[in-house]
């Protein structure tokens, strides 16, 4: 393609002045969602990969169930951009209708199915294509064999809800149920559906079954399911539980006959994935890599972006290349060797050149200041979106991330059902964390199991009841159980709304860095630098929450163990108590002093500790 210069009279400072009023066409480098509008797309970039995605869709449309695709690419290589192109392609060809679903996988591994259910349904109901939601379109196309399709579904509630939606009844509540939101009993009754109090494991299983049944209902229509940023299933880099969850998800979804699964993962995760994923998972997908930009593609990209600002051509000096003010030769030097050249790195380099051409420069914001601004933006969004549905996810995903930064080892596997995480602080000991977000009955059952099975000498216990899931004033038995647990040394923490919003903002900030969606001066900041910033800038509301964990450490376990010992012995010399508890006498004395409402301490030649009765508690 020849590079014809379009000449004008402007030159030098005239050209700079001319550009001053023109917005930088290279400023926007990140596509955050496949549903974004107004994105400049150069169709020939990643053309081969796009063709491979279309081949996969055609294959499934023909009923051939080959392997799903796992798209690999460096941060900024254009994975989400490519999925957006796929969405537009499917929308432009409405016959046959193939629903498109895009899910950002920032969730805790233990909540992946609930997250997926909510996001799949949200895509189907919220995203409107030609004025109609995808779910409406699916229900309309099923009209001729609606009853027959309902018979494929084993879940009665899903049958009832789909019938309401098809007939335009109780739309808001039916959609809420489909999303997985708990409904008040009166609403459930009006809808004609039953509600079960289930624990986390059962809720995950239920979400998976609903998704499978929904897919079965819409069969034979295939649907595209894009799982973006699968690396976000990791709570922290190196988190193997997250990677196992990744593999489990891909393998399970691939078994759904009409699901066209396209996973996206950063190339930087390749080694961890390769070492952790089991063969049965690898057998279910084939990897597809995004190449680096070729020289001709760089030209196409620059040309396309320049074309979005027609005023640039008018400012072009006489004899200047059509790519003015961009010097393509200088772009070569900006290549991030030995990594691959990505669209994002090209766009950043062009953005810099553009600013220089108009006599300025891209603002060089120090990293700390940049991170603060990014955090504040996310905090504002988090405050607006905070809801009882989201608080559970925030705590499940965000709390381990934050505690990991504090030097805790996090364990989520092989724990009792009433425990969500186990923390091992750097200096030893073990803290169990239970999130109390269930419905009233399920919470009572969880606390009852906790009461029976928890051994204070094995681990401390923290029970989190967040501000959006307060205990009902009528939940007497639940309160009694909680008090008993606290008497034995468990600590109840109530994260405030502000703490939840702050935690959400921080987890999104960290997640964006890990997935490469946060760019500072054209590059993703080093994760270690961002983690360091987070440690130095923990918001006060979160700081209080973390202090609560610190206070739940071995000293409290000792109090609990001492309480159990004195419940039997009533009075003991401190030295004897210490020997029985494998602690030292000074620790026992300190524990008794710090817990005056539970214990008495008589100092003398040989200190004595005793149990305080309710009458003695007032002494």
């Amino acid at each position: 393609m020849t590079e014809k210069a379009i000449t004008t009279g402007a030159s030098g400072s005239g050209a700079r002045g001319c550009l001053a009023g023109v917005s930088n066409p290279f400023a926007r480098g990140v596509v955050r969602s496949a549903w974004e509008a107004d994105v400049v797309d150069v169709e020939s970039i990643h053309g081969e990969a796009f063709a491979a995605l279309l081949d996969l869709i055609e294959e499934r449309r023909q009923g051939v169930h080959g392997r799903s695709i796992l798209l690999h690419g460096f941060a900024g290589s254009g994975k989400t951009h490519l999925l957006r192109r796929l969405r537009l392609y499917l929308e432009s060809r409405p016959d046959p209708f193939i629903p498109f679903i895009w899910v950002w996988m920032q969730t805790a591994p233990g909540m992946k199915w609930r997250h997926l259910r909510r996001e799949v349904v949200d895509n189907l109901v919220r995203q409107r294509v030609n004025g109609e939601s995808q779910l409406e379109k699916l229900l309309r196309s099923a009209a001729g064999e609606f009853e027959h399709r309902l018979e494929r579904i084993a879940d009665r509630n899903l049958q009832v809800v789909l019938e309401h939606l098809a007939r335009g009844r109780f739309l808001r509540d039916a959609r809420a149920w489909l999303l997985g939101a708990p409904l008040p009993d009166t609403v459930a009754e009006r809808l004609g559906i039953g509600q079960a109090d289930v624990d986390d494991a059962a809720a995950e299983d239920a979400a998976r079954r609903i998704l499978e049944e929904l897919a079965s209902f819409i069969r034979p229509t295939p649907f595209v399911l894009c799982l973006d940023q699968l690396e976000q299933l990791q709570t922290f880099p190196g988190d193997q539980v997250g990677l196992f969850a990744f593999g489990e998800l891909l393998a399970a979804l691939d078994r759904i006959e009409n699901a066209i699964v396209i996973g996206c993962v950063q190339t930087e995760l390749a080694r961890e994935l390769d070492r952790v994923l089991m063969q049965y998972v690898r057998d279910r997908y084939r990897p597809l890599g995004l190449p680096e930009l070729r020289a001709d593609e760089v030209r196409l990209l620059v040309r396309a972006r320049l074309a979005t600002e027609p005023r640039i051509a008018a400012c072009r000096p006489a004899g200047a290349s059509e790519f003015w003010p961009i010097d393509l030769e200088k772009l070569r030097a900006a290549a991030p060797e030995p990594l691959l050249l990505t669209p994002r790195s090209v766009l950043y380099a062009c953005a810099k050149q553009f600013e220089e051409a108009r006599g300025g420069s891209l603002p060089e914001v120090p990293l700390d200041e940049f991170l603060r601004a990014e955090y504040e933006a996310r905090l504002g969004e988090a405050r607006e979106k905070l809801s009882p549905d989201s608080s559970t996810m925030i705590l499940s995903d965000g709390l381990p991330r934050l505690l990991h930064l504090g030097g805790c080892e996090i364990r989520r596997e092989g724990l009792p059902r009433w425990l969500d995480h186990e923390l091992r602080p750097g200096h030893g000991g073990s803290i169990g964390v239970a999130l109390a977000h269930e419905t009233a009955q399920a919470l009572w059952r969880k606390l009852a199991r906790m009461h029976d099975e928890w051994r204070p000498e094995e681990r401390s216990l923290v029970i989190l009841i967040d501000a959006l899931h307060p205990l009902s004033p009528h939940a007497r038995r639940t309160r009694e159980l909680l008090e008993k647990l606290e008497q034995r040394g468990a600590r109840r923490l109530t994260p405030s709304r502000e703490a939840l919003a702050a935690l959400d903002a921080l987890r999104r900030l960290l997640g964006d860095v890990e997935s490469g969606d946060l760019t500072h001066q054209g590059k993703t900041p080093e994760l270690a630098a961002v983690e360091d910033w987070v440690r130095r800038n923990v918001p006060p509301a979160l700081g209080e929450l973390l202090d609560g964990f610190a206070r739940a450490e071995p000293a409290s376990r000792l109090a609990s163990a001492l309480a159990d010992l004195l419940a039997e012995k009533k009075v003991l010399r401190a030295a004897e108590a210490a020997a029985a508890l494998r602690a030292n006498p000074e620790e026992v004395e300190r524990c008794a002093r710090e817990n005056r409402h539970h214990f008495g301490l008589l100092m003398g030649t040989e200190p004595v500790v005793f149990e305080k009765t309710p009458a003695g508690a007032e002494a």
Binding site: H72, G73, F74, P237, G238, T267, E268, L269, A270, R271, E272, D274, R275, R286, P287, L288, G289, L290, P291, E292, E337, P338, L339, L340, L527
Partner: protein, 233 residues
């Protein structure tokens, strides 16, 4: 008939090297072998009449059987030239005489399939020298040849190409490094980094690793560690 094996298993590699001449198959070779084992006068003309082949085709089939016989004999132990010729020709009952076997041996030596040890006038299989070494009372220490640096770079590139699951899906170093056991970490890392500098490969940073893992990763000498490598196209 004893001595001629048409079984593929011991000779797989050699058989794949030796392309079959047009006109005969493994079944044909088996039939010829069986025919040679029957009583009665034997000649190439009789084989030709019996199988409906031309004499040229008969000769090609017998040559192949003789080749296999030679390799089979030398798999067990090295033999002097005269003994090898005698033991090979004897199974063909004048259909493939000693002169032809002698010429075949010379041809296989030229091809490198067989080799001579002049001092001892022994023939042996150079790809399986153990019987010769035992005969000579020697022990073989296997040492991988030290290739020139250019060879290492090309071999690394070839290995990456072999292991890559798809273009632009990099190969993890845990699979690549063990393919070069005779190379030190520094030598291997230098070769890979040099390939990256030449634009032949791209490197993928490793996000997090333990001290134990550090040995496996590619280090560029400037504090950067890479966990996988891919070919640039």
């Amino acid at each position: 008939m004893e001595g001629i094996s048409t079984s593929k298993a011991p000779f797989d590699n050699l058989l794949t090297v030796q392309k079959q001449a047009p006109g005969f198959t493994e079944d044909d070779l088996a039939r010829v072998t069986e025919w040679l084992g029957r009583p009665g006068r034997k000649s190439r003309q009789r084989i030709a009449r019996e199988f409906g082949w031309s004499e040229k085709e008969v000769l090609a089939a017998l040559r192949e059987l003789a080749r296999r016989r030679l390799i089979e004999l030398l798999t067990e132990k090295p033999l002097a030239n005269e003994e090898l010729i005698r033991q090979t020709a004897s199974v063909f009952r004048r259909c493939y005489g000693q002169d032809l076997v002698k010429r075949l041996i010379a041809s296989l030596v030229r091809e490198g399939v067989l080799a001579r040890l002049p001092a001892k006038r022994l023939l042996y299989r150079p790809d399986a020298p153990q019987p010769l070494l035992e005969a000579l009372g020697l022990k073989l220490e296997v040492k991988p040849p030290t290739a020139a640096p250019e060879d290492l770079a090309e071999r690394i590139l070839a290995k990456i190409a072999e292991l890559e699951e798809a273009p632009y899906v990099p190969v993890i170093v845990d699979k690549l490094r063990p393919a070069f056991p005779g190379r030190s970490k520094e030598e291997f890392d230098r070769a890979v980094v040099a390939l990256a500098d030449l634009g032949r490969v791209y490197l993928v940073p490793n996000r997090v690793f333990t001290d134990e893992e550090r040995e496996m990763l590619i280090h560029d000498g400037e504090g950067n560690y890479y966990g996988s490598v891919g070919l640039r196209r």
